[in-house]
Each structure stands twice: as structure tokens, then as C-alpha cells.
Symmetry: C2
Subunit: 408 residues, 2 copies
Amino acid sequence: MIKGNAIVGQSGGPTAAINATLAGVVRGAYESGCIDKIYGALNGVAGLLEDNYCVLNDILTGENELKLLENTPAAALGSCRMKLPDPDKDTAPFEKLFELFEKLDIKYFFYIGGNDSMDTVDKLSRYAKKICSDLRVMGVPKTIDNDLCGTDHTPGFGSAAKFIATVMQEIIRDTAVYTVEAVTIVEIMGRDAGWLTAASALPRKVCGVAPDLVYLPEVVFDYDKFFEDIQKAFEKKPNIVVAVSEGIRLADGRYVGESTQSGATDVFGHKYLAGTGKMLENAVKEKLGCKVRSVELNLPQRCASHIASRCDLEESVSVGRAAVACAVRGESAKMMCFEREDGEYSVKCIARDISEIANKIKYVPREYITERGNNVTDECVDYLLPLINGEVSITYKDGLPVHFVIER
Amino acid sequence: MIKGNAIVGQSGGPTAAINATLAGVVRGAYESGCIDKIYGALNGVAGLLEDNYCVLNDILTGENELKLLENTPAAALGSCRMKLPDPDKDTAPFEKLFELFEKLDIKYFFYIGGNDSMDTVDKLSRYAKKICSDLRVMGVPKTIDNDLCGTDHTPGFGSAAKFIATVMQEIIRDTAVYTVEAVTIVEIMGRDAGWLTAASALPRKVCGVAPDLVYLPEVVFDYDKFFEDIQKAFEKKPNIVVAVSEGIRLADGRYVGESTQSGATDVFGHKYLAGTGKMLENAVKEKLGCKVRSVELNLPQRCASHIASRCDLEESVSVGRAAVACAVRGESAKMMCFEREDGEYSVKCIARDISEIANKIKYVPREYITERGNNVTDECVDYLLPLINGEVSITYKDGLPVHFVIER
């Protein structure tokens, strides 16, 4: 058990649960018996490179603060989208970081993030090994996309899924009030993997309503089959609801939403997507002539903490705590993962080698999607349903949720 | 006190509170002592013209059912968008309706709806008077837009405002995590009046965060002033959040969402018609070159009953109940209104002549908007804040809210 200080950072896109994991890491540090100070990196490694950090012991001083933080959306420490260079080619940023770690007597580094952040964990671990540093580096996953390998699911996904399933049920009630033929297309986040879009089908099992058609990026999208699917759905009812991933692609590999974009990419080279629903809206209007509207669920999918999943938030806290416990036990270069246990739903937290996980994507398996590729199977719904279970008790003031703010 | 039956219908766009008002009317009928059966018009007057109705006494049999209905979004009886003809020119639909009323021994007619629905109430009242019918016709307002005259505010508005204010706070937390200069434009419903967009400023009073700029349809929108506003906001912080009504217009009267600056086309080569937020997103991207994203809050604004305002739902029930009490006391051709009482927030329900209310729009007064027209005043926030107060206890099953469904 190495005594010293720890630092925790958040990175990548915010979620409704990333602060719960932060609270978990802090709880773990407080309980560890060997971590004196727990620092917070402000705006991830990018902030650390500019000496931006805070002392969380002074900020998260009690149960009230930790509880509020757990129910606060977005990254309280701030985030960044920074890809570190290959430590075998460019050591400059690593030298700067490890200098700071030495100055602050940092023995433990925790990084909460998605796929790109696990790449940072991987590179920091490799550099630490290279310079024979005893720094222990742990990745703690978060992503609403649920597309990390090695874990049953990702913290943050359950809350996003609960928001999507809840709002989907409400949208279906809303669109069902008229008797005129109409199509409502709901565009859901998910560039590569269709997990979030699959979650829109959850109300089917609970209350018998669900989108009539569900299209994921895992299956090639075909306009003609899509129009056929809608016409067939109209035989049964006048109000058709379609759930569609932003990342669906045509047979030639182009994104359906691509033609509305300038081709701009983000710093990781990912194509920036928007407008898949709008594209389909225009196409259906043109082809079938019926009333069509599209709804892009957009940012609230990743920050609607007011309808967070209790299962998700509790697991997010526990995985942060477990990361500290693992590091204290001597593990490093690992990402914390969930393993689902047999029988009634429960998970245990285990650590897996980061090198096996970083830069890989977990897709929705083909057997979770119907043969025609226009919906998800009951097996998929069964896998997803426990993740949205339970509600969180939110503190309100004057009608609005109270958030915990760390000044940056 | 005329003994007989009553019928209630819902019309226009759904809200999170229109079923609470339906429950209120039904509660009022059960308590009246003179209404035997309370029928439900399925899909409003359009449905009635096709003999589509149900007996609510058989459906809403107890407190459990009424409570669930109160927390169910959208119109449980179904809705319609039907404008009846002038009863002085075409009596055919009126004759058909009154034939049905006679057959069912209907003495009381309640219609829950917005501006267009109050037109229906007005015309039915006029026809009833013309044929010397003793039918009592009452309008019960609902609209998320808060744009009906004669009432302090409209049932349904408070819940929409609470969703908007809640999600706005979450979006502001979300967008604040990065340090890069970025503009997030949030498009909010409101074709004519900016009440909903004004509600996005509510967190300002509660927790000190709010959109940096707020544009309502009540003030002419000017691109140059808009760009100046953003540049000025960037002097203080890197993450600018803009709230904008879908209905903002240029000096020449055209809607901002109507103009066609974007040259993008869809896969079929058709011009891509963007919304107001998307138009502004493109304009800012082009003019200022910074990161921009737009978020259209869309349908959840009117159906997100999972975050309904308790104040709104309680008032929505009470106004339905009051409508029955007024009709039983002998009133007719009236719309139920809220009058705000002095001192601590409370309202009383009063009935006003429908002819003075129908087909008029209540705009956000100019004194509720800052001089430059790019935000709302504290006075406006003070007026709005009580309307989002309180949370509703929702029944959940397997992680999703339980809704009450009336088969149609």
C-alpha cells in the first residue's frame, strides 16, 4: 500500500453519471487509509498541462456535497478533448505531467472518460512503465454510448437510456392523439454503436408501447426498405414512430446525415454528424407525402440528470470507489469494468488491462437486431432493462434541481 | 341546477397537463350532485361528429385511475384540429352534434383546448343560443404557449416551463465543461409569443446560471445585433448559450427559420429547410467561425410529464373542477381563467366571456424584455417562477413512468 496523494480527472463528453463516478473516486480515496490529498484535474490532462487543479478534500467536505455532486450532470471538474502523442515518439507532455505528479506527490492517477480517454490512460501507463515510475494509472469508464469493450455496460449509459425510454414513451403518447397519418422520426445519439437507439424500445416490455421501427448503425440503411417498412406500419395504425441512430449509413458507407454537413471533423477525426432525422423527414415527405416531423433528442440525452437511473448512479459511484481500491491493492494500467452476475441482476467491478480495451468499439450484436434490421429483439430489451431501474431522489429549490458546482 | 349528463373533449396540441384538467372535470362531475354520466368525446368534436365517445364513469372508477391520469402526458381522449364553420352560415355540423347531445341527454359540454378550441366553444355557444338550447358550454384552457388572453397564465404552461428551465440548466452545465469558444443555440417553441423562451431564464434567479442571450418573437430579430451580442458575451466567458423562440422574425416580417441561407441539399437534391436554431447555427459558424451547435427542444416541451410542475398540475385539476361548478351554477359561453391574487402566490379560478377571449393572442409585454431585446427582465422571471414550483410524485414501473391509457 503506497502512501501519497491522488489525482482524478474527467475527460470526453459529459454524462449524467460522470460526477457520480468522481464522487465514488473521492469516497474511495477518503476510505483508502493511504491517500492523503485527492486533487482534481481541472479540464482533464489539458488543464493539468497548464497546472490547473484543485484540492477536492477542501471542496467535497461531507456527505451533503458528495450527494449533490452525484446528482449533478456534466463534468464538475471540466473536461477536455485531448489526444496525447505516442509516448515513444514525443515525451514532452508526459515529462510535464510527471513533473507535476512528483511536485504534488501523486501516486495514483484516475481518469474518468470514454474511449478516447482510455487512450490517454494507456499512454500514461506506458510512459510510467518506460520511466519506471511507481504511479498507478486507472481508467474509469463513462460514456452514454455503451460502446466500450470489456465491460457489460458503461456508467452513464443507463441514465441516458432512461431519459430516452421515458421521453420516447411520452412522444408516443403525444403523437397518438391525432387520427391523421403521420410519421415521427426520433434521432438518437450513437455514431458507431446503436445502444442508445436500442434503449428507445424499452417501453415495449414495460407498458406495451414502443417505436414501430428502430434503425441502428450496425445494419446498412436502405431507403427503399425504410419506405416499405413505413407503408407496412401504416396498415396497422396512423401514427408511426421511428427511432434512428445519428450514425446510420448507406450501403456505400456514407452517413445518412452526411450530406447536410460540410464534412467537418472533430479533433479525433470523427465526422461531425447532425441532421439524420431531418434527412429522413425530407425523404419520407417527398416519397410518401404524409405528415412527417423529426425530433433530435440532442444534448439532454447526456445531461438530463433530473431523470437519471438510480442503478446507473449507484454503479457509477461504486466503480469509482472500486478503482481506488484496485489501485491501492497495486493494480495499474487497467480500466474498471462491470461483469454481470448470473440470476437476478447485479454486477461486480473488475479491472481489465487497458491495452485490450482502448480504441475498440463494442457494437450491438447482430442477434439483438431483428432479421430485417428494423427493430431490436426481446433479448436486447432484457439485457437493457435493468440498467434504467430505479429513480434518484433529487434536491429541488424553487422548482429546479440543485447542482453542485466546482469553480474552475 | 339542471340534472343530466355531461360530455368533455380535448382539442389542439397535447400538453403535460391537459389530462390533469380532464381529471378535474371528471372529479367536478362526480362531485356535482347533478351530473349522472360524464361522457368523453374521442378525438374532440371531429370524433363526436362520427359518434366516437366513451363513458368516463366506467373508465375512471377511482382515485388510483384519476391520479395516474393526472400524471399522463398528451390527450388521453385523443385530440383534433378542427375549425367549425360559422354557425350563421353552415349549421350542418352543429345539427349533428346537438342531435347527439339530445340522444345522450347532454346538458353540459366542456372543451379543454387552446386558442382554436376556444373558437369551437364560442361557435357552439352561439349555436346553442340561436336554437334556444339549454346546453351549457364551457371552455377550459390549456396551452403550453401561455398566449391566451383573460387569464394570468394557462394550464400546461408551467410544466413546459419547468422542463425548459430544468433542461436549460443541464445544457448550461454540459456546455461549460470545455474551454474552447463555443455557442450553443437552444430553439424553444413559440410561434407568436415568447413565454416559453422566457422561461429558459428561470435558473438565473434560482442558481445564478441562465442563457446569456434570449430572443423572443416580440422583438424584431437583427443578425448584426445578434453577432455583436455574441462577441460581447465572449469577452466574459468561452461558452455562450442562446435561447431563441422558433418564431423570431426579421424586420421584413419573414421568420428566421423561413429564410434560405443554407445552400445544402438532401440526397434527392431538394433544398434542405432548416429550423430557426439551425439557421442561426449556420449563420454564426459562417460569421464568427467558432464552434456552434443548435438544440431544438421539440416535442418533449409539451409532453415531458416526468418533470411536470406540481403547481401546474394542481391548478389544471382545479380549473377543470371549477368549470363544472360554474356550469352547474348556470354559467355558459365562458372560458375558465386564473386570476393571480396579491401577496404570496395563489390563484383563483374565474369564468370570462368566451367571445372576449377567442382568437386573441397574449404576447410577452415589452417591459418584460430588456431594452436591447436580448434577454428578459427580473420582473418577467418573478412572474414566471411560481408556475414551475413543486414536483409531482410519479408512479414508476421497471424504471419508467406509468401512464393511464383510454382505449380509442
